[in-house]
Each structure stands twice: as C-alpha cells, then as structure tokens.
C-alpha cells in the first residue's frame, strides 16, 4: 500500500465519519483532526513537490477489460495540498460556534460536513488520476459532490441555492458530455485510455481530429472553471452554499478545470501544437483564442463584481475573474506565464477562502451580508477586519501579498511576448478589483457603526484561528514566493513545460524579500514620525464634522449605496447582460424544441412515428444481415 493509497483511504474514512456522526457536537473537531491526518500524509508525499517520481496506487480495478490507474505527480500533489488544507481549515471553522448556529437555524450540519468530505475525496481521486478513464470517474464525482454542497442550503439561502445548483449541474453535464467526447476521440486515435498512448497518438492525428480533441477537452474544463461564456452558473452557486462549504468551493473547487487545462496545454497535447492550429494564418491561432477568452474573463466578471451589493456574490464573481489570470498565464506558455498561472491557484485559494469566511463571520454576528446594511465593524471585529484586509490586498494583487507575485509573473510574460492589449486588459481587471474590494471592505468595516451593531462581538476563536492561518499564508508566500515557486517549478517539469528559474524572493527581477523588508522599514519610519507628533485623543464617531449639525444615534451618516456613482454614471450603460440574454435564448430554444418534440412524438403523429420506427428497424435489420 503506497502513501497515495493511505491518503485515499484516509480521505474515504473522513467522509464515512462525516456521514455517520457529522451532526454530533464534537464531529467538527474530530473531522478537522482527520483532515489534518490527510495533510500529514500529503506532507509525506512532499518530495513530489521537489521533483520526485510520481507515486502509483497499488489498487488498479479493471472495468470491462480497461484498468483504472491512480498516480499522483507534482501537479496533482500541488492541487491536492491546496484542496486538503482548504477542507481542513473550513471544517475547523465550522467545528465550533458557527456549526452550532447553523444547526440552530435549521441547517443540516452533518450533511454539510459529509458534502465537504465528499468533495475532498472526489478531488483527490481526480487529481491523482493516472489515465483517461480514472480522469472521467474523478470528473463526474467532483461534479456531483459540488452539486451536493450547492443545493443543500435551501432554507438558509431562502430557496435560491436550489435553482443555482440546478443551473450548475446543467452546465456540468454539458461539460461531462464534452469530456466523454474527448475520451472517445482519444480512444479512437490511440486505442487505449492511457495518457502516454494519447501523447504518442496526437502527432499522428489529422488536423480536424486534433482540433476537435482540443475543443472537447477545453469545453469540459472551461465550463468547470467558469470561463466566458460559461461563467453564469458559478457566482450564485458558490455564494449561496453553506458558509464554509462556499469558501471551500470558491477557493479550489473550480480550479480542477485549470488542472485539466494544464494537462492539455502541458503533457497531453502541448501548447506548441495548439499555437500551431492557425485560424487566420499568421495572425490568430487557437492559443490566442484561449488568451483572449482569459483576458475577457478577467475583465467582465470583475466589473460585474463591482456592481454587487451582497458580499458573497461580490467575492464569487471575483473568483471567476481570477480564473482568467490563471488561464492567461497558462496559455502564455512560457516559464513565467505558466509559473504565474499555476502559482495563482494557490494564491487565490489562500485569500479567497479567508475572505469568504470573514464575510460569513460578519454574517454570523450581524445576520447580513448586504453591503448597504453594514459599516464601521472594524471597532467591534478588528481581527476579522485584519483577515479581510490581508485578503483583499491579495485579491487585488498589490504588493507585498502573494496575489501580486503571481500576477507580476503573468504581466512580465505578456510584456516579453509583446501583448499590450492583453496586458492592459489584465491591468484593467486588477484596477477594477481594487475598486470592488475596497467597496467590500469599506462598506463592511469602515464608515459609521450602525446602532443595531453597537453590541456586536468579535468572531469566536474557533472561526478566527483558521482564518488567521490562511491569511498568514497570504503574507508568508507573498514575502517568500520561492516556497511555492519550488512546487510550481516541479509541476511545470511534470507537465513538460519550460521550468521557471526562481529564487526564494521571486523571479524575473523581482525580490519580494527585499520589497517586504523595505516596507516594514518604511512603516517603522512612518510610525516614528507619527509618534513624534503631539499625543492624540480618541473621539466618538458622532464627534464629527457635519456641516454644523449635531450627530446622534438617529443619524445615518454613512456613504455606501452606489459607492462608485460617478464611475457608473459613465460606464453604467455598458452593462448589457448580454450573456444572461444569450443564456435565456438557449434555454428558450431548448424549451421550444422539447415542446415540439413532445407534441410530435407523444400526441400528434403517434401512429405515423410507430410506422416509421418499425420500418427503420426492419431496414436496419435487413441491411445489418445483408452486410
């Protein structure tokens, strides 16, 4: 039994424990310990992150003569590490007061724990899949495990989560069909489900076959990633999942799509071959399509996020936008771009999860995530504020947090390849994110504290510790990105991509150790300068300039609704909901087709159809016998 087997068995056990005793009071703590066990087993597999050979599972069940293989390489290990840590910390978060509160509000805590554990198992199975067949099995498990987590929150979300989950599973089914098609093409070309045979067969394929293989794979993986134009399902599905579950989904779940694309761009087909498929010869190839899809995925969902008034939806929309940076880097294809894209997966998980959890901590204390009904909470929940502050600096991609480093690598890659338009779209996405996350922080924690929140307390330690742990990852890997870049470089090597040349402080002329160092130095100087001034006196929030009026508890003295009115005055008309419209057109046409078919088959022409079907079968039989 290899370590990989131990890990998978342990993950199954965690799931089993969750499903049997998940609703008990102590279950959360026990499960958190079990996840920590999985984490330790992954630590045991850590040589994978530093260039060791893949670990193969001893268990290889056969299915109709085809063998299912599980094998974990550097790329799978990197994603699995993020998955297990996310699962561990969100379960810890749910283990104390949050879980109790959830149960009191009528939520099924045991089911939530089971769903999270099922997601972790499914993702581990997928990430360690060793051939196309186990890939498909893992893919389906991940899809349905995610669905479970999305639809179980009906009561808490006011009935919104159900439709959102159904919309997701519709998209996911489309993706699964595409993956099945890809498998069929691959098997037809190579005669087996092994990766290695497919890699050999790709060279022999005709042009159209190769294009359809790329498109089928890409369709499956981009739908899961929520890339344009398949992004509509994601934000509501993640936002209305039960708190810690939503944080888990937002942090890592959809990134398995990127994992798949990395396999396609790396080992399976190769970015060079994809760039060789020219759509307008010499001008625009298939790789450019991916890059432009990625760039638009950065910009459009980010500016959709800017308009949200619910903190959960705002974050979920940003999750879609951040996926664009990952794909943009990956499709750039060089060591810098793919390194940045892969690193962004860990970075994104490390700030997105605590951001979601911080929002749910605020909801736990105040009962709302409506950005127009909050404000001033920094005075009551300072540590939660700190978590959100670190998270938004990471999400916005400003130094010295880790989000900046991965985006920096992508920017430099675009710069070196001479792609000004893609570069500026990536920058616009970052600027839009800065605006949007500042609104999130301001409307939640800054400004005037509302009268009904005067007595609010800080979130309990059972929620704070996991959040702070994740936030510390954002700071540590921002200061010493080399820690993660080691793993990323191994993943690149496993994929056959060019390997990023890096140091502990960064790559491509950036040394974050120094940058963070001088920032600390600067803040120390700033503090000394501040303290050199005369001593200040704290005043109450009502002791404020109000144009001659006296402020009292009755006054709402806060600016939060339509936060960027001036900007929206200019760009508001550019929001056209075209994708929602397009989706509704597709739904309407499918509806019409099924109604027509229903009428045709079942009512109007039943006898005629029976005759037609009988004739057809007879003809087929005769031909079949004849040939």
């Amino acid at each position: 039994m290899s370590v990989l087997d131990q890990l998978l068995v342990f993950a199954f056990m965690t799931g089993a424990v969750a499903s049997f005793i998940g609703d008990r009071r102590f279950a959360g703590t026990l499960l958190a310990i079990l996840y920590f066990g999985q984490f330790l087993l992954l630590v045991k597999l850590a040589p994978l992150g530093y260039g060791a050979q893949p670990v193969v599972s001893a268990w290889q069940p056969a299915l109709f003569g085809e063998v299912l293989v599980w094998r974990m390489d550097a790329l799978g290990w990197y994603f699995a590490l993020i998955t297990v840590v996310a699962g561990w910390l969100v379960t810890w978060y749910a283990s104390g007061e949050w879980g109790q509160g959830y149960r009191e509000r009528g939520g099924n805590l045991g089911l939530m724990h089971t769903a999270v554990a099922a997601n972790v198992v499914a993702m581990l199975l997928l990430l360690s899949s060793g051939n196309l067949l186990s890939l498909f099995v893992g893919w389906e498990l991940v899809s349905w495990a995610g669905f479970l987590l999305m639809v179980m929150n009906g009561r808490e979300s006011g009935g919104v989560s159900g439709p959102a989950g159904l919309r997701y599973i519709t998209y996911a089914t489309l993706g699964a069909m595409a993956l099945l098609a890809a498998l069929a093409i691959a098997h037809h070309a190579s005669g087996s489900f092994e990766y290695i045979d497919l890699i050999d067969a790709v060279d022999q394929m005709t042009g159209p076959t190769r294009v359809s293989l790329v498109i089928a794979f890409a369709l499956a993986f981009t739908i899961k990633m929520g890339l344009l134009p398949f992004h509509l399902w994601q934000a509501p599905a993640y936002a209305y999942s039960p708190g810690p579950g939503g944080a888990f989904l937002g942090a890592i779940s959809s990134r398995v799509g990127l994992w798949g694309l990395a396999m396609v761009f790396g080992s399976l087909i190769g970015i060079g071959r994809i760039a060789g498929i020219e759509l307008i010869p010499g001008w625009f190839d298939l790789r450019d399509v991916f890059m432009w899809v990625a760039a638009l995925t950065i910009v459009l969902p980010t500016f959709t996020a800017l308009r949200q008034n619910d903190a959960r939806l705002l974050l979920a929309w940003h999750g879609i936008g951040q996926g664009g940076y990952m794909l943009l880097g990956l499709a750039a294809g060089d060591a810098l771009g793919t390194g940045g894209g892969l690193m962004h997966v860990l970075n994104h998980a490390s700030y997105q999860a605590p951001l979601f959890l911080a929002v749910f901590a605020v909801m736990h204390r105040t009962g709302t995530s409506d950005l127009n009904r909050l404000g001033g909470l920094v005075a009551r929940m300072p540590l939660t504020f700190l978590v959100m502050l670190i998270g938004i600096i990471g999400l916005a991609g400003l130094p010295p947090m880790n989000g900046f480093v991965s985006k920096y690598l992508v920017y430099i890659s675009l710069l070196r390849q001479g792609e000004p338009l893609l570069f500026i779209l990536a920058v616009i996405g970052t600027l839009g994110t800065v605006l949007s996350v500042f609104k999130l922080l301001h409307n939640t924690f800054l400004g005037q504290l509302r009268v009904e929140h005067m007595e609010v307390r800080e979130a309990p330690w059972s929620m704070l510790i996991p959040m702070l742990l994740m936030a510390s990852v954002v700071v540590v890997t921002g200061t010493a990105p080399g820690l993660v870049l080691d793993w990323v470089a191994s993943a690149q090597a496993a994929l056959g991509l060019p390997v990023l040349d890096h140091t502990l402080g960064g790559a491509a002329g950036l040394d974050m150790l120094w940058v963070s160092g001088v920032l600390v130095y600067g803040f120390a100087v700033g503090t000394l300068l501040f303290l050199s001034g005369n001593k200040s006196r704290r005043v109450h929030q009502f002791d404020n300039y109000a144009g001659g009026h006296f402020l009292t508890a009755e006054n709402q003295y806060q600016y939060s609704d339509q936060f960027y009115a001036g900007l929206m005055h200019h760009i508001g008309g550019w929001y056209r909901a075209s994708f929602t419209w397009a989706e509704s057109v597709v739904i309407a046409s499918v509806d019409a087709m099924s109604a027509a078919a229903n009428g045709f088959f079942r009512r109007t022409q039943a006898v005629f159809l029976l005759l037609l079907a009988t004739l057809g079968s007879v003809a087929w039989l005769l031909w079949g016998v004849g040939s």
């Binding site: 001033g376 920094v378 005075a379 600096i393 991609g397 400003l398 130094p399 900046f404 920096y408 920017y411 430099i412 710069l415 001479g418 000004p420 570069f423 500026i424 920058v427 616009i428 970052t430 600027l431 839009g432 605006l435 500042f438 301001h442 800054l446 400004g447 005037q448 504290l449 402080g505 002329g509 950036l510 040394d511 120094w514 940058v515 001088v518 130095y521 600067g522 803040f523 120390a524 100087v525 700033g526 503090t527 300068l529 501040f530 001034g533 005369n534 001593k535 200040s536 006196r537 929030q541 404020n544 300039y545 109000a546 144009g547 003295y557 960027y564 001036g566 900007l567 005055h569 200019h570």
Partner: protein
C-alpha cells in the same frame, strides 16, 4: 556594495526625497502666487507647516486604524523611495522594477483610504470613491505608457533603463524615441498628482475637502509629508522613463523640478471636472496617444 553603504542609502534616499518634496510643495505655492500676482510663502514655509501640524495641541484621532492609515501612507512612500534610482544611489532598485513600482504606488493611497474610512464621515468616503475612480481612470493610460517604455527599452529594470538612456545620449531618451508616450505619460501624471482639473475628490466647497475632512494636526501633517513624497516620486519616475534619469544631482534636480512644474502650472489654469467627465477625458486622449505610442514602440 557593502552592507553599510546600502544601509546609508536606505536612510539617505527617503531623506533626500522628503527635502526635495518639500521644495516642490514650495514651488507649487510659489507658482500659484505668481499667477495670482502675490509674493507667495518664504523658503522654509513648508517645513514650518509640517512642524506646526505635528506639534499642535489638538490632535483628534478616530481610532487605531485612522492612525495606522497615516503611518502606512507615509511609510509606504519611504519604502518606495528606496526603489527608485537617483544619481549615485541605486538603493534596492534592482530588486523591484517599473511594474512593481506602479503597483506599490497604490499602497500609500490604500493606507490613506483605510484611515479616512475609519473617520466615519461620508464626505471622506465620497472623496475616496472619487479618488478610486480617478485611479482606475489614469492608471489605464499610465500602464500603457509603462508597457511602451518597457518594450522600447526591453527592460523593466529602472537601473538598466537609466543606463541605456545615459549611454546613448539625448537621442535615446524616452521623450525623443517616443514623444507620444511621453505626452500621454504627462497627461497621466496630471491626474495621478490629483491636481486641477482632476481634483474632484477634494472638492472643498462640495464635500468639505473629501478625504481630509476629519484630518487635523499630525494626521494632516502626515498627508502633507505624503504629498511631498508623491511629487518627488512622480518627478523621478517620469525623469527615469523619459529624460534619461540623472547624470548628476544638478541636472537631475532641474529635470524633476521641470517635470513637476508642468502639471502644477497647468493646475492653476483649470477648474475641476466632474468624476464622469474626468473618466471620459482620461480614457480618451491619453489612451489614444499611448496606443499610438505603443504602435510606434512595437514597430
């Protein structure tokens, strides 16, 4: 370079920036005075102002974050000054570069925004919303300019950027090689410094000076210091990108003062634009210029 040498530079670079920045603030007020036929303040007035603000008896704080915000706003600029090369001193400029600097320059504004946010005054928050919008507006042409310069010189390293331009003489300066980018950059500078016509976020008569509404004493003093750093940094960055950096302190000071004098002079001739008009203006002319410049650069 020895460690002692580096440590001296880390102390000296922010200090020089502070002194030169204060002189630029003096220049701002002198230009305004001359245009309005006044004499203007004496030489040391900016320094006296800082000392006065820091030593005032009334120092009103709205909470820890209000104080921390001012510390971040000033402190981040102290850090930034060690990342921009000046004659004879490179500090740690080799560890960062143009892209890092473009993003690092948002950190002081973030600090200010946090500080203003805790003041719980809607005038301040409205000012922040407008300042953020302005940032979204001017950073688009500015980053196009950054891309163009980096592409033209095939580097984002500021030390190399200066070295290449100084080795080739005036003919290789950014402003000669690509005047379109230089003009677009100057346009962006005007908005970045938040001077008229782009100072809607302050709008004293409408929102009571916006972000500054609850600031007094050393809090306002901190913002004063921050602004002097901001003038200096903008001048140095523009000089590094387009005017060949500084061969020596004499030419370097002339260049950065001229660069900063342009937007400051323009400022006194304009009223202010509304937010949406500002966005429209900045997304039109400098972006067009920068894109044309990019075409020239990539050719």
């Amino acid at each position: 370079m020895s460690t002692t040498h580096l440590l001296i530079e880390l102390v000296l670079m922010p200090l020089v920036a502070f002194v030169v920045g204060l002189a630029m603030l003096l220049m701002l007020r002198k230009i305004g005075a001359r245009l309005q036929r006044r004499v203007g303040p004496p030489l040391l007035q900016p320094l006296f102002d800082v000392i006065k603000l820091y030593s005032k008896r009334t120092q009103v704080s709205h909470g820890l974050l209000h104080e921390a915000g001012i510390v971040v706003a000033v402190g981040a600029y102290v850090a930034i000054e060690t990342l921009v090369p000046v004659p004879g001193m490179n500090g740690i400029a080799e560890k960062g570069g143009l892209i890092l600097l473009s993003y690092l320059m948002m950190v002081p504004s973030l600090g200010l925004a946090l500080g203003v946010g805790q003041c719980a005054n809607p005038n301040g928050s409205i000012g922040l919303s407008r300042a953020m919008t302005a940032m979204l507006a001017y950073d688009i042409p500015f980053m196009l300019v950054v891309f163009g310069v980096a592409w033209q010189f095939q580097t984002t390293n500021l030390v190399e950027l200066v070295a290449v331009q100084q080795a080739g003489g005036i003919a290789t300066w950014g402003i000669v090689e690509n005047p379109l980018l230089a003009i677009a950059g100057l346009f962006g500078l005007q908005a970045m410094l938040g001077k008229q016509p782009f100072e809607i976020y302050v709008a004293p008569a409408e929102i009571a000076t916006g972000p500054m509404v609850e600031m007094g004493g050393k809090f306002l003093g901190g913002l004063f210091v921050m602004q002097s750093f901001q003038f200096y940094t903008a001048g140095v960055l523009y000089t590094t990108m387009f005017l060949g950096g500084g061969e020596n302190w004499f030419t370097f000071l002339i260049k950065i003062f001229v660069v900063v004098a342009i937007p400051l002079s323009v400022a006194f001739m304009f009223p202010r634009y509304r937010t949406e008009d500002m966005v429209r203006l900045v997304w039109k002319w400098p972006v067009i210029l920068a894109l044309l410049g990019l075409v020239v650069a990539v050719q």
